[in-house]
């Protein structure tokens, strides 16, 4: 199963960077990506636990069941996939919006979609 690259995987990829090839254009590009990865890891360490706790609290109310983040998130996916929950249900959308705002704050805080979402219709 893949859901998204974990912090451990990012650290592993960073450790695997071949310093010997420094100097060419490809290496310069990869160095910028590596800087982004390190910044992502820092944001995840600072923001991730709070975001996950908030998601768990929302999911318990939304789904009416108890559990940890992975189990609750999987349950939400299952209910959306088989139609037990509607994608346009306001409570569902509110959770999805809150979750993705927290995730983009970790993954790519300068992404313009965040500004677009904050703008009134």
């Amino acid at each position: 199963m893949i859901t998204h690259p974990t912090a451990d995987e990012l650290r592993e990829a960073l450790a695997g960077i071949d310093e010997a090839s420094a100097g060419d254009a490809r290496a310069a590009f990869l160095a910028r990506v590596a800087d982004n990865a390190r910044a992502t890891l820092e944001r995840e360490a600072a923001l991730g636990p709070v975001a996950e706790a908030a998601a768990v609290a929302r999911l318990k109310v939304l789904l009416g069941v108890d559990g940890g983040f992975e189990a609750l998130n999987a349950e939400l996916c299952a209910r959306l996939s088989d139609g037990r929950l509607s994608p346009l249900d306001p409570a569902v959308l509110a959770h999805l919006q809150a979750s993705v705002i927290d995730q983009i704050a970790i993954d790519q805080p300068s992404y313009s979609g965040l500004m677009a979402l904050a703008e009134p219709c």
Partner: protein, 329 residues
């Protein structure tokens, strides 16, 4: 065939057949860009400026990309319709020593989306660009289908099924993508009349000249038969607005200019609603592509930091999808 694929040598050997006055190729250099395809710029000694597009022998053919010879035929088919595309000068045969490849005349301009949406050099052409994109798409979509090489036909429901199958294979747990598949499935418009669709018409695949605007539509490897609104929606996906999110068409123009240009050039009426459906499907496709590229890291096929980090761009597709679900309902 040359054993080692020495590209500059093979181009020089080919030079006299590309131009009667040419004896050799000069300045052959690999341009950055495509991950699966190589692009080389070179000159002939009679002054001609050319581009080589080739599939390296190591590249795996994806199941949706067209053979390069087919791409060359499409360029020749749309050019007389008024679509700005490079002129193909030679489609390579095995004896040319370049593998699967073709050669075309080099165009002058910029393809980097970030520069096109921001640089002062393009300020003069930006206001007319969205309308021009609509006109050019109408010309492409009007290409007679008789005589075209065999192309797959795909409608909205097919595209959704194809990407959902890829998503299911990866087995991710991403509720926004789950919601988006069901939301779009209930809204998938029927394909009324299949037309030639470029398939990757976005800021990044358009050659823009600071004075003459859109001079080349590049990268035809995803061309197929389908809904004209697919191309109109794809160029509006927020991921290729390069931060200029208030300008939905490629980060440089407005929806209405694109649609007006398309209609004025005979493209037939496409509603904004239909365009937005395809824009949303475009964001979903991009999100699944990000996960696919990350999957090649997760499986061990490519352990580069680039492949890992692109997985973290799936959330940009998600935030764009949430906005569209909220606003469109």
């Amino acid at each position: 065939m040359l054993a080692t694929m020495d590209v500059p040598a093979a181009l020089s050997a080919l030079a006299p057949r590309l131009s009667p006055g040419a004896a050799t190729a000069l300045n052959a250099r690999r341009l950055s860009g495509g991950a699966s395809l190589e692009t080389w710029a070179f000159d002939l000694d009679d002054g001609a400026a050319l581009i080589l597009r080739r599939r390296p022998p190591s590249a795996l053919m994806s199941d949706t990309a067209l053979p390069l010879a087919t791409e060359a035929v499409l360029l020749a088919a749309v050019r007389p319709r008024g679509a700005p595309v490079p002129e193909v000068v030679h489609v390579c045969a095995p004896g040319d020593g370049l593998g699967e490849a073709y050669l075309m005349r080099r165009l002058e301009g910029e393809t980097l989306g970030k520069r096109i949406v921001r640089d002062e050099a393009f300020a003069g052409v930006r206001p007319g660009l969205a309308r021009r994109c609509g006109e050019v798409l109408a010309a492409i979509h009007a290409t007679p289908l008789e005589g075209l090489p065999p192309l797959a036909t795909s409608d909205a429901a097919n595209e959704l099924q194809r990407y959902e199958a890829v998503y299911r294979d990866l087995r991710p747990q991403r509720p926004i993508f789950e919601a988006a598949f069901r939301w779009l499935e209930s809204r998938a418009p029927p394909l009324e009349r299949p037309v030639l669709v470029h398939g990757d018409f976005r800021n990044g695949n358009l050659m823009i000249h600071p004075a003459s605007g859109l001079v080349g539509v590049l990268d035809w490897e995803l061309a197929h038969l389908g809904d004209p609104a697919e191309d109109l929606g794809w160029i509006c996906v927020n991921s290729w607005r390069f931060g200029q999110w208030r300008r939905p068409v490629g980060g440089f123009g407005d929806y209405q200019d694109l649609l007006d240009g398309h209609a004025a050039a005979g493209g037939g009426a496409v509603s904004l609603e239909r365009l937005l459906f395809w824009q949303a499907l475009g964001s979903l496709k991009w999100g699944v592509m990000c996960l696919m590229m990350y999957a090649s890291f997760a499986s061990g096929a490519d352990r580069s930091i680039e492949r890992a980090m692109i997985g973290r761009r799936a959330s940009e597709a998600e935030i764009d999808l949430v906005l569209l679900m909220e606003r469109l309902g």
